[in-house]
Symmetry: C2
Subunit: 207 residues, 2 copies
């Protein structure tokens, strides 16, 4: 209950219940955890609640989509596209910004990215024009690109999209590669699905 007394309120319209309802819309939070979060925020008003309100407002104001690669950042072109230490001849194609972040956290790729914004999906009616594929082809045609790495999910839609992009890039004289399929590190054969086992067997290599 470490809350300082405050001067009388200034006409709040949303209130505590509204704040709980908004927080409950975040992935990973439901009504119960949103209530816990709000109590925590109220207890840490100055160290957490006010900074969080400012950070949300700041990022909401300044966020933009990189016109080159589709990443989200507070600048356009994004920090990755601007980084001269990254190899501009390598483009790693991902479905979503979350995939870009995951690859970049791993720190094993020092080229640039291209975010499609989804995958082709006949069921959901998503065609090539709904994705960021045309700009990728332009980028490869106009830039000095050596290799395009397709880092799409190992799902039917992801692989369909990979095949489509490979076709579109076929006429241009570059390498198009894809992430390997096989056993995840630490994976036990007994628990893996047949598709993974078949892919790992097909791609077996000399030991």
């Amino acid at each position: 209950m470490a809350i300082n007394p405050l001067p009388p309120g200034t006409g709040t319209t949303i209130g505590i219940d509204g704040l709980i309802a908004l927080l409950a819309k975040l992935p990973g939070l439901g009504p119960r955890s949103a209530r816990r979060a709000v109590l925590q925020l109220i207890k840490k008003r100055e160290s957490l609640m006010q900074p969080l309100a400012r950070a949300l407002a700041d990022v909401a104001d300044s966020i933009r989509i990189c016109g080159t690669c589709g990443n989200v950042d507070v600048q356009d072109p994004c920090a990755i596209c601007c980084d001269p230490k990254r190899d501009a001849g390598l483009i790693c194609v991902v479905e979503d910004v979350s995939d870009l972040w995951a690859l970049d956290r791993a720190g094993l790729f020092r080229g640039r990215y291209h975010v499609l914004g989804g995958t082709l999906s006949a069921l959901d009616g998503i065609g090539p024009d709904d994705l960021n594929i045309g700009p990728l082809v332009d980028r490869v045609r106009e830039g000095d690109i050596r290799e395009v790495i397709l880092a799409l999910n190992a799902t039917v839609d992801g692989q369909t999209t990979a095949h489509y992009i490979t076709d579109r890039l076929g006429a241009l004289n570059i390498d198009v590669t894809a992430l390997a399929h096989g056993l995840p590190v630490g994976g036990e054969l007994d628990y893996l699905d047949d598709g993974t086992l078949a892919a790992a067997m097909k791609a077996r290599r000399k030991f």
Copy 2:
């Protein structure tokens, strides 16, 4: 990727990583779920991110502790203490605001509350003066109170606190009651601890 273009930024200091770090401090969210939440917020900038920023700032500005009962609300006295339809002769004593909310959601108590802000704890060095107990005694002495219901957790500290409050209220001519102990509804004997079974056996009643 449904984000509208924006005019150039206005000097963000915190950035996306700072927002993720702040969100990860909420209970129930870690770094991974905070990243997912931030991506969701960015995708729903106008319907979720901006309203959430405003709600946080509003509530941070307007939140206050009810001087009567210790509840948090945007007004003092709080909505519960101001509600004339609630029985002012009944006070339900709880440890924390979260307990108050839990009881009030259940909708089975139509009196008023008193939030202690914790429990007595020799280990943590929390004595009666650190809790909201004195004001409770004053409230009972000065008001027209018929019954005080101790709705404290069934923990050692909770029950110690309940005994202490019962002693303090002993001289005043009111009923002091406590929540019943026993089997939780839907509970199976096989999975319950010995303490619960003993309490349920001791408090057995004619069927």
